[in-house]
Symmetry: D2
Subunit: 338 residues, 4 copies
């Protein structure tokens, strides 16, 4: 951490700054020139936030030299993390495809979609039981009944399931029944939830927040890892930009950055990113090309009558064609789709 001091800083204020860091077990090193007063702070500064230091009289500007997360960092763990979900590898050579409807709507629907997804080659079944919706008046999911239906689909197809958790109190039930627990974009900084998920032994898929920076995303991961749960899958799902033609804007550089900065697997959600099913196949192929470890895609047998987000769902036939294309393309990128 480098601190630029005001040129007219008083001796007393300098003394105070010195004490501030010494009290926290850190050392200072002078790095000033004739024109600028600079000090370097040496040691582990992760527990100190910039806004706290800015309050010290005489401080003008602070630059963090090291990333603010530790366990999420590639420096801490240089080898890629591969997560095993009932024998399916997430990370490594496997290119995993999770597919299913936005919302679980009925037994018939989820079974039909699950079988179609499985047949096309998806390895993991996705489906929303608890739906966070912008409007309190919109369909909020079948809730626990939806979870039961997902379990039926799992039983019938043998596919592990991933579904979004809405709140801390449901953790015991999700640990028991769900194979990957999804944290939605709006909950990326719900720290109570992240802390609680850090204490369990279950893979977590953490979606990037709508306007989150890479550092904020990895700091949210750090909340989970710090608790002891090391099975985190990152998911890029589009960010908010000024464009309204699409729902969000897919940031494929996020995949590259997350892989440069972290050891965790990264998958892409092209359905929520674009919000337009016509764009999903091409974005899916671009995700494979850029180096993602997999995809999570919305598939619906009857998107016109979906209870949520039909606009971004592929029909099973189109999904099947996409899977065929991905399988052909994968070896080119040294990936395998089983």
């Amino acid at each position: 951490m480098i601190i630029k001091l005001k040129n007219n800083i008083s001796d007393l204020d300098f003394k105070r700054i010195e004490n501030f860091f010494i009290k926290r077990g850190l050392k200072l090193k002078d790095a000033s020139s004739n024109e600028v007063k600079l000090i370097g702070v040496i040691g582990d500064t992760k527990s100190i936030m910039e806004s706290d230091i800015m309050a010290l009289e005489g401080v003008e500007h602070i630059t963090r030299i090291q990333v603010p997360y530790k366990k999420a960092s590639k420096v801490f763990k240089p080898t890629p993390t591969i997560i095993d979900v009932s024998g399916i590898k997430i990370g490594g050579d496997n290119f995993v495809v999770m597919a299913g409807p936005c919302s679980v709507e009925s037994e018939e629907q989820i079974l039909e979609v699950a079988e179609a997804c499985k047949k096309a080659g998806a390895q993991i079944l996705r489906g929303g039981a608890f739906k966070p919706r912008t409007s309190p008046y919109a369909f909020q999911g079948l809730k626990l009944e939806g979870l039961d239906l997902l379990l039926k689909a799992k039983e019938k197809t043998g596919m592990p399931i991933i579904t979004e958790i809405p709140s801390v109190d449901l953790i015991p039930r999700f640990v028991k029944d769900v194979d990957i627990i999804q944290v939605g974009a709006r909950n990326m900084q719900n720290y109570q939830l992240l802390k609680a998920l850090g204490e369990i032994d279950k893979p977590i898929l953490l979606k990037r927040g709508l306007s989150a920076t890479y550092d904020e995303w990895l700091m949210a991961v750090e909340y989970i890892l710090a608790g002891g749960n090391e099975k985190v899958i990152l998911c890029e799902r589009g960010i908010r930009t000024f464009e309204s033609y699409t729902r969000n804007t897919l940031d494929l550089q996020a995949v590259l950055a997350a892989k440069e900065l972290s050891h965790l697997p990264v998958i892409v959600d092209p359905s929520h990113a674009s919000g337009r099913y016509e764009m999903v196949p091409q974005l899916a192929k671009a995700s494979l090309a850029v180096g993602a470890d997999g995809l999570i895609i919305e598939v619906h047998n009857n998107p016109e009558f979906a209870l949520s987000d039909g606009a971004q769902s592929l029909k099973p036939e189109k999904f099947s064609i996409l899977m065929k294309e991905l399988k052909e393309l994968a070896p080119y990128f040294k990936r395998e789709i089983k």
Copy 2:
């Protein structure tokens, strides 16, 4: 709601769209011209989300004509809502000032700051007991101990207290002890929390999310109002922009918009908006000038040694000067600071 259809829509698809709306008790009205096929949907469309309709084959574009919220809307309740907190009015002629430290740090600190704030003319005491921090390694607040200290300060000064709630499980304790429950920006779309707060009888201060639009903010309010709790105070606290010189960017137009669209009181947090204490006094005066119903300001007796966010805290002397200026200025804007 106006729906633009594709020019080449099939009769079957049109029939399906018709059924979709009729099943939901809505009526359709043709509004087409020679060039464009348009239908108007008549009735209460609040429970239908655009993304659901977009999935219907043949739909090209949707325009919502009415706001998606109801109870938060000025159309629903044209008279301004005034919220009473132990005799202090929020809304109406009163210009309320809430002040106190970012975090409660010790008994000595909170008592000293509370008395200074009271003396300067603040009506309500703010102070963080549970601190949501980006880093799991940073100070997370004194938690329940901090709440106890706030109660001591309340007892001693007679000031009602406002503090942020981190999660649903703490609601009973907050209902018992806190006068205004604050929902932080990161929790603006934590729907489980909002729903639970809708079921209690206690004023809620809802901060605008970092990248939230006005509609999203008012939809979050709607979650609380829909549950029956009508005591919501809106708080503009700065949005994320491309600028990094300041922490966030204060959007004073949000105050005007919230008052055009809604009947609820709106206050401003200049401390979090700018993140720089030097800017707070001028932003506070601009907030009064633009028509806000009050302010929430960070004050610290010793900001250099604050455990969080010292950079944006005013010292008691500077806060006292600001209060004097605001009192002089208030009558000009037909406001009163008692």
Copy 3:
């Protein structure tokens, strides 16, 4: 165009609104329901801007039903435009690669880079002669001398050249010597320049502005097309987001949207998008996968000593490997790299 009127609009105001449109040769059609007053405006509304109508007393909201551009639209011209540059096709089956240094720096440099690019398989040579830099004190390009050096490289390699035009007065020189005239992101809404380029017969590559929406981008195109020059190539080069780890954020959905909305070819600039050469190869392959018509890539023989933007330049060896990979991959996407 659909106009929502205020419910309490006076007869006089309604009359005025009627006249406003009738005077402009447009017709009105009532689309009101019991709850909402709506009128549809029928005819060509392209010359009317929303902000003008909003000024009419009694108007509450306006929705444009048709895109505001005409000649750039796929509706106007459904067949894809293919642009011929000295026999090289931009659009259609050909996947064009333009490559070269950010800035032309010396005869030796440009000749060496040009030959390396040609050898690797690039079809068009890029190179900056006039460099728009944020700082007036930074290197601004070799200017006309740089253009002369580009011509030497063209002569030697036979590659057509593309370079950025800084201002209207240089158009005659550029028409004479340059094969594709590039308009930089910062000039995307420099309307004097766009109008003047509309009057010449030379391909224009129009970069998307840093924060431009798709509509604004296509409206900028419309300025050129409206003048009679129909040879426009769109170029997505990354948009500004909250992320600072990368220079900009590549928006590959822009490629899909531009191809849905327009008939023009679209290429991608992965070098400016990410600003990090390590990311360029993967972004280049993702661009091919998503359906772009080509790439514009920075290549430098000695990026450590580049006079501008070295950080995002590939060395010739790495570029050569990338070209090999793209050539192998192209047929999969029904593209050809000659």
Copy 4:
């Protein structure tokens, strides 16, 4: 400038970095710790851009310690600049109000509006002759005829005039006839125009670009100052955000920041910021409260029939009330409106 090196940097690469800076007359100072390799660059680094250094093998991250502009900086010139326009002071105690129609439309219109503005207390007349519009099909201003009409209004009322310049070729005419030359937000980084304006002796009002950071804005100023023209007025006019209820989002912190960083006067355009005339009076008062040096406001005698941007124009009666309020309020902020 502080440069973080990769921990595994080779001696050869380090040597190269050293040479890079020594060749440019700069010195290096080691600031490393056990964990991190850091070097400080001492001397004037303004002509070096970060992206150039990032290209050097072995460099991981760069932090600029000093602002990248010089003549615009308060460090360079600590006393506030006051600009004299025919005896009217911009900056200092005077709170200047510039008012007039968005577009000059006819002799009758501009004379009527000018007289109303003057009577209400505006000191400078604004009016667009050349209108940059998003659509090539929208009204583009009366151009030179509009300028002639502005001159008539100046002659009749004695008010100096401000109008926007569209391109370099019109500079001689503007120098002759216009009192303040306005550079529009879209041209903020039109460097050819900025350089040319740096060589004349005439006040320039530089609007902040739609998504420009404070540094980019001040770097654009630097282009003008570097040429020798020191009469620059900054104008905050709203930035693009995710909100579409208003046209743009007014950033009043920009006024405070510009005054902390620079010595130049700063005025606010509440009309373009909000795009809604109902918001203009309150935003105008907030601008005064925050410390702006003045306002530029759209006033139209007949906004319903304005040829551009009527929605954001005040009628003369409302403008007159606003001026009365501002005059009463000004002394409170130690300002004067003559």
